[in-house]
């Protein structure tokens, strides 16, 4: 018994180790190569920061990185706000067609982005919204919204309704109840939803690619265009910065919110 469980836990460790290797090793190699003098991944390793210096003068990459960040932050704010409000409405009210509406939230997640992107392109073109950063933002919000609603609604499932009743009985208005009782209780769900929204937008290539215009583009689209022209280690450099930034962001968030417990 003891032996087999220690064998299992040994296997478990190996498994987790492999998962971590596959997840992080490519990133580590990429980060290392961003400091390697050879642009063709040649060894021996020769330390340099010249690619970072080159990056500093690559206006296309810098502008698109800033665009990406801006759009991701705006998408996160808008989709999280709208999605949380929608989740609360679905939680509180009972109306005809509620179940159908909730069911309709799932298909967009399963629809390939290539198809969503094409549909958006046609729709935005037809309605005169056109392409550009505003169109990308609109598209990202639409993509992120179902994620936020699903995650926040899942959190609300475990929220005791009596807490809202209790607040009302104590004289709190709807808004006071929402702000002081409901939102704090479902905050971990909202943060998780916001992370999804950020990831959907910041990661987004396909939909952005359809909606970008030459001057107005996002980092993934710009990287793709750069790779097609010819790979440069500046991409390693910008990717390393992005990786560090994203990981830092996630670590900060996970420090403030424990996802498993409530307290």
């Amino acid at each position: 018994m003891m032996r087999s469980s220690s064998l299992l836990s040994g296997l478990g460790r190996v498994y987790i180790g492999l998962v971590l290797v596959f997840l992080y090793l490519p990133l580590v190699i990429m980060a290392a190569m961003s400091f390697n003098a050879s642009p063709f991944y040649q060894l021996p390793f020769e330390g340099t920061t010249s690619w970072y210096a080159a990056l500093a003068s690559n206006e296309g990459l810098i502008a698109s990185t800033l665009n990406s960040l801006q759009i991701a932050v705006l998408t996160t704010l808008i989709a999280t706000t709208l999605g949380t409000a929608a989740s609360l409405a679905l939680f509180r009210s009972d109306f005809r067609g509620k179940r159908a509406l909730q069911a309709l939230l799932f298909p967009p997640i399963a629809i390939p982005w290539l198809i969503s992107g094409t549909a958006m392109l046609i729709f935005f073109f037809g309605t005169g919204i056109g392409r550009g950063l505003h169109a990308i933002l609109l598209g990202h919000v639409a993509l992120a919204l179902p994620y936020v609603i699903i995650v926040v609604s899942a959190r609300l499932q475990t929220f005791p309704r009596e807490l809202e009743d209790a607040a009302a009985s104590l004289g709190a208005s709807r808004w006071q109840t929402t702000r002081k009782v409901t939102l704090p209780a479902i905050a971990p769900g909202i943060v998780a939803g916001a992370l999804f929204a950020f990831a959907v937008s910041f990661d987004q290539f396909v939909v952005s690619y359809f909606l970008a215009t030459p001057g107005q583009t996002t980092l993934p689209v710009e990287i793709y265009a750069a790779i097609r022209k010819g790979f440069t280690p500046e991409i390693n450099a910008v990717s390393t910065i992005v990786i560090l930034f994203s990981m830092g962001l996630m670590l900060i968030v996970s420090r403030f919110f424990r996802f498993a417990g409530d307290r």
């Binding site: 005791p160 009743d165 009302a168 009985s169 104590l170 004289g171 208005s173 006071q176 704090p184 209780a185």
Partner: protein, 353 residues
């Protein structure tokens, strides 16, 4: 403080009629218990007074004013929920302060009111605790302090003690009663527990299938239940049926017993009840009672349940089980399987509708 009047209120959930033409008044400063089996509509009635449900018909008045158009947060009520509904993201003191803060009150006044309320429920020393660090009884008292600190006109309590164990529950009943008397707020208390209702309240309403079966002071309901349901739901009762004529009741087995004064002129089929503690048990059938003043049946002792100061006997009288509760004051000479006579004073017979 205010009186509450529920007037001809009905409410349906879909096809199910949860409340059916309910009328009941709660006097200013009174302590009412709403008692009834599960699903009888107690919570629904309470939630309706609070404003969480709206009556399909009828109206609810608080302090003489119809409150149909007043939302929950404007009704100035206090409510303690069955699971307490303590806000988990706030400390004990913040929970209690909540009702004052949402009214825009600030500063020392709030702190004073909160500490007074916590002292009232004897939790002053736990003000800084988080809810998950409290016991069930402490949570319940936080909920109570939170509900009364806003000086509500009506206090609504939905089975607040049901989650507590017996000892704590007794303590809390006494405490609740003390606090209610101190604050003087009209209180409506929902409970499953008949003993709790009897000991704590000054009036009781019994609900069954969404309707008030009977309402009155505890002694009145216990001594004069008007239906078999009320008689058996609140306490134990032996039911006797027969045909009334000329001030006497003739039972199925031919035995005739005297009826109390109030039923002297009844005739036809009649149902009566007699409380087990009003029944006397005489061994060997040697009772020398005046048959015009006392009811008497003969039977065989089948069971005996000993509970310290009392013994409860189950006596088989021609196939009908009769309960008798006898204080154990002397030599115990009632034996299992032995013939006995059970008697009672005719005034102790309760006439049921």
């Amino acid at each position: 403080m205010a009186r509450v009047d529920v007037k001809n209120v009905s409410l349906s959930f879909g096809a199910y009629r949860a409340l059916n033409d309910v009328s009941i008044s709660f006097a200013d400063g009174g302590f009412y218990a709403l008692l009834g089996p599960s699903g009888s509509g107690k919570t629904t009635l309470l939630r309706m007074i609070a404003g969480f449900e709206y009556p399909d018909e009828g109206s609810i008045l608080i302090g003489g004013e119809a409150v149909e158009s007043v939302p929950v947060d404007k009704r100035r009520i206090g409510m303690v929920f069955q699971n307490y509904a303590i806000f988990p993201n706030m400390s004990v003191a913040e929970n209690v302060a909540f009702g004052l803060r949402v009214r825009g009150e600030k500063g020392a006044g709030v702190e004073k009111a909160v500490s007074d309320a916590l002292d009232l429920v004897q939790l002053g020393h736990l003000a800084k605790r988080r809810p998950h660090q409290l016991s069930g009884g402490q949570r319940q008292r936080v909920a109570l302090a939170r509900a009364i600190v806003t000086k509500p006109r009506v206090l609504l309590l939905d089975e607040p003690l049901s989650a507590l164990d017996k000892g704590l529950r007794k303590d809390m009943q006494i405490e609740l009663k003390r606090i209610q008397r101190e604050v003087g707020v009209t209180t409506i208390f929902v409970t499953h527990d008949q003993d709790e209702a009897l000991s704590i309240s000054d009036r009781i309403g019994i609900l069954k299938d969404g309707a008030i079966v009977q309402e009155g002071a505890p002694e009145e309901i216990y001594d004069r239940p008007r239906s078999e349901f009320a008689a058996t739901f609140l306490g134990e009762a032996n039911i006797i049926e027969g045909t009334a004529e000329g001030g006497r009741l003739t039972l199925e087995n031919g035995v005739s017993i005297p009826l109390p004064q109030e039923a002297a002129r009844s005739s036809g089929h009649l149902r009566c009840a007699i409380r087990p503690e009003r029944v006397h048990v005489v061994p060997g059938g040697l009772a020398s009672v005046n048959l015009s003043q006392a009811g008497t049946l003969t039977g065989i002792v089948r069971h005996k349940l000993f509970s310290g100061s009392l013994s409860t006997y189950s006596i088989d009288c021609d196939g009908r089980q009769f309960q008798a509760i006898v204080p154990r004051t002397g030599e115990d000479d009632i034996r299992m399987g032995s013939p006995v006579e059970v008697t009672w004073k005719k005034e102790d017979l309760i006439i049921l509708a």
